[in-house]
């Protein structure tokens, strides 16, 4: 492993970072920053919480302020999508400020802090969520139906993708990699033999799953987060991804996020005007599982080994590819 001493590494110096956040707060919100702390989790995004003028905010930025990974939207487009979702009545945290190069913070934006839980395991296990957990799958189906009906301005120039394109992209990542993965190869073959029929493209969240939803003990689903992978594509992608076994966080008998059943999720989606193609949603579950496996085995490992992100966290995610192998085998043997 090579370690590169690039300028971004120096920028993570804690006090220096706080100074720049303070300058940003002074110029944008007219008061200094207090209680700055990094929120844990989030290998692909850094989240920092702080207080400014008695109001709580969250700053989201790419790790170390570096430019976005190839899949992620520019932060300004992500913020525009969040505005469009809010206008459609979808609960999202309002974006207060999009950082510019002169802020010297990197690609980042500041959004309002919303009270609620995002840690999937807490949502699934803590007693305070017992009352709202049974309705979460229904709430998820409703919010997705609303999202998929948003008309997006072509000015936003969002990326497009479909089932065949996504499969091709990830199969290429797999085949560029020196390490052979027979189970992934089996999944690639099954998916190419079972491509769903194309359907009219819609606005797809692209990372809709337990962990990217905010849940309160009183109201259940209160915010939809992490819009950096939003694109135009097949709506069934958003119905398949939350059912990927890795996003059930140990509750395999509750396929939707570890909290609900597909029947409730699909019924709510259809009640709000969506149209479910179950075979296609199943395709996207299996493709989603393969994608997560390839992200771990290929992309995370490559980022770690190249020195682009030499953190222990990044390296250890590489080893999560084995969980997707056993999940894919169970799915391909029709036991899931």
């Amino acid at each position: 492993m090579t370690k590169k001493n690039h300028p971004a590494a120096e920028k993570t110096d804690a006090s220096d970072f706080e100074t720049r956040i303070d300058e940003l707060c002074q110029s944008q919100f007219g008061a200094g920053v207090t209680n700055l702390k990094r929120l844990s989790g989030g290998a692909s995004q850094e989240s920092w919480q702080f207080i400014c003028d008695a109001k709580a905010y969250v700053l989201r930025r790419n790790p170390g302020g570096k430019s976005a990974s190839q899949n992620a939207l520019p932060k300004a487009s992500e913020a525009a999508i969040i505005d469009a979702a809010a206008a459609a009545g979808i609960c999202v945290p309002r974006v207060s400020y999009i950082c510019t190069p002169s802020d010297d913070i990197g690609e980042a934006y500041v959004m309002d802090f919303i009270e609620g839980e995002t840690i999937a395991r807490k949502i699934l296990r803590d007693a305070e969520f017992d009352g709202v957990r049974p309705d979460l799958a229904t709430q998820c189906g409703e919010v997705l139906a609303r999202l998929h009906q948003i008309e997006v301005s072509p000015l936003l120039d969002l990326p497009h993708s479909d089932a065949a394109g996504e499969l091709k992209k990830y199969a290429e990542f797999l085949h560029q990699h020196k390490q052979p993965h027979p189970v992934f190869e089996l999944a690639v073959k099954w998916l190419s033999d079972n491509l769903p029929p194309p359907r009219a493209p819609v606005l797809v969240h692209g990372d809709f799953r337990n962990g990217n939803i905010m849940v309160s003990p009183e109201d259940g689903l209160v915010a939809l987060l992490d819009w950096e992978l939003t694109h135009i594509g097949d709506p069934m992608e958003d119905l398949g991804w939350p059912c990927v076994p890795s996003w059930r966080f140990g509750q395999h008998d509750l396929p939707v996020g570890g909290f609900g059943q597909r029947a409730d999720f699909y019924a709510a989606y259809e009640r709000k005007g969506g149209e479910v193609d179950e075979a296609s949603a199943r395709f996207w579950e299996i493709l989603g599982t393969l994608k997560w496996g390839i992200m771990c085995a290929v992309l995370m490992s490559r980022a770690f080994e190249s020195g682009a992100d030499p953190s222990v966290e990044r390296g250890s995610i590489g080893r999560r590819s084995s969980e997707t192998e056993i999940d894919l085998l169970r799915m391909l043997l029709e036991q899931d």
């Binding site: 027979p182 189970v183 089996l186 073959k189 140990g250 969980e323 056993i326 169970r330």
Partner: protein, 135 residues
Amino acid sequence: MQDRPAAEDLLAAVRGFLNDTAMPQLQGHAAFSARVAGNVLDILARELALAPGFQKAETRRLKALLDVGPDAKDDLLTLNRALCDKIASGEMDLSTPDLRDHLIKVSMGKLAIDQPRYQGYKTAQANNWPEEESK
């Protein structure tokens, strides 16, 4: 032959230092990273103990599946690439005798090292899926 202490004992000492000394002094993201680091040490300890036997079993099954001759290259990289080619071409799939058993055992072995507490691993055990062989 490497001198003692043994690698597994040194790893256990680092794990003890992390648990007993370092972690109680850490907060926030650093505490989170330390927990991740502890998990990685556990992976390494299991890999040291299990991987040599697992690799022998995987190699033996691959040679039988692929019917490789006695003089052919039999390192795991070469064998697994040959298996991937046969799967990609459709020559082998889950209905191929012994392939399903082989892939399950290899994946079970990886999980026994990487994350033996993963739900999918426990589900597989509950369904009597076979563990990787140790020699």
